[in-house]
Symmetry: C2
Subunit: 294 residues, 2 copies
């Protein structure tokens, strides 16, 4: 992997799927024009974040892979010569859907996919209703720009996921994300949540000696009913280097195309002086495979 | 565990072992006078950080457990009614030494010990020469003030260690530490190292929904020969809550007794809304037990 210019596309999305897809395509085209070799979209970018409620009608939003999105973004990737990380609501069979990241390489082909392994379920994020937990494991996707350790949103809280991608040779960790706060929450709580989210992802860079790219939605999406308020997606998309230092970080209000160049030599240099992979006590980690050690 | 007042004793140490022990005892007494129920000392507090070089004569610094340190701090703990985390150079047998944390409970008895599992070895930190990697695994020590997940320094870079302590029911993660920079290093590099160190430890709080106490040495310790410069221990001892937010943080220049009260209800509340232990994919973590997935 040579120097790599990554675009984190921090975007907002509305009710119209076709308009969302066009909006993504326009942002990718703009990023490519600015020199991006890899473009990462936020989680579930084709739709509003529909998991604020549990509605069977929302399964209509799911699509097969390959399907309409790969049909659109495949030729676009080839035309622009850019690698793209999509995040789709995958319809695999009736009653069997996943939250799936799809990597389109710059030749336009599907390089691979990752089905979100850790599925959240908390008020406003009812994902366990919609998404079957992934069954592809934690494997990076090999592309022309490197081996991409693509994980999705809730996965970011689990050091195990980042480690497994690292052990499988990932050059880069990537998190398409949809996270925000309830604007009625206490400002101190909101700050703590955001700070925790930045900290845990930057820590994956530190623990693994790998750069991290995290791309979040931006903007307020109202609750579909009057029963609740909605989510203010907090943006703050960022790129961190192999020691967890911010190379760049977007704001919490606006759409942004965050363009950053990653130097893979930094990962090599970091791991030489902080060789954590050398010292892991794999002989003593067996209980990581337990739910609890009781 | 009720509210718990913890004292992080950020101290400096010289060549005289007895003076170092008395210095620790005085700090513990002062902290107890201020209401501390748990006192944590920096790594290897009885001696200078002797791992800057590899010298067979330095094995003279090792002591048995129980031994002179537990003979001193046991009665002190009982007298003051305080739980103490010691960090000792343990002589187990000729040619078999460990870097061992010993927890003395407030009744004066040894509640348990932890032998450092991950051993570093990099210029100025030649620990693999002195310390046999621990063989007690990752188990918290049960005390009157809670179940203490005591780890030591280099362990802090390994999310696996923090997770295993959490899964075994730790109420608190504790890191006695000796880390610093070469004052000749580039200031930006020093800042990145410190920031990475804070980030990875705070991330263990986030990932596990547990408070973290990290206690570092302070001050400059010259290299024992003229061949190198020495280490400027960077202090920055801190206490973070179960979401990784700083409750308190010491500076990088002076000795400090950092007193903080931890509210265990915060861990409970954090884990209810961020229930990461619920969602771990233990069915898919098997390769964490491999050196590399090649």
């Amino acid at each position: 992997m040579k120097h790599l210019t990554v675009a984190a596309l921090q975007l907002r999305f509305g009710a119209d799927i076709e308009a969302n897809r066009r909006h993504c395509a326009a942002a990718i085209e703009k990023a490519a024009g600015q020199g991006a070799e890899l473009a990462v979209l936020p989680e579930l970018h084709n739709t509003p974040y529909f998991c604020q409620t549990e509605e069977t009608s929302r399964f209509d939003l799911a699509e097969p892979i390959p399907g309409p999105s790969t049909d659109l973004f495949g030729p676009l990737a080839q035309h622009l010569g850019i690698t793209i990380v999509l995040s789709l609501f995958e319809r695999r069979a009736p009653g069997l859907c996943h939250n799936t990241a799809v990597v389109i390489d710059r030749d336009g082909a599907i390089a691979g996919k990752y089905r979100k392994m850790h599925i959240p379920d908390d008020p406003g994020y009812y994902e366990k209703f919609y998404f079957t937990p992934g069954d592809l494991g934690f494997l990076p996707v090999k592309t022309a720009v490197g081996s991409l350790g693509v994980l999705v949103c809730w996965d970011q809280w689990f050091p195990e996921a980042a480690r497994l991608m690292t052990l499988a040779g990932a050059d880069l960790l990537i998190y398409p994300t949809a996270i925000g706060y309830d604007p009625r929450e206490d400002p101190a709580d909101r700050k703590n949540q955001l700070e925790a989210w930045l900290t845990i992802q930057r820590s994956h860079a530190v623990a693994n000696g790998l750069p991290v790219v995290s791309v979040n939605r931006i903007g307020f999406e109202p609750h579909p009913t009057e029963k609740d308020y909605g989510i203010e997606f907090w943006g703050n998309s960022f790129v961190a280097d192999a020691q967890g230092a911010f190379l760049g970080r977007a704001g919490d209000k606006e759409e942004e195309i965050l363009l950053m160049t990653i130097d893979p030599a930094r990962a090599e240099a970091t791991r030489r002086i902080w060789p954590f992979l050398r010292d892991r006590r794999i002989d003593a980690y067996g209980d990581l495979l337990k739910r609890f050690r009781d």
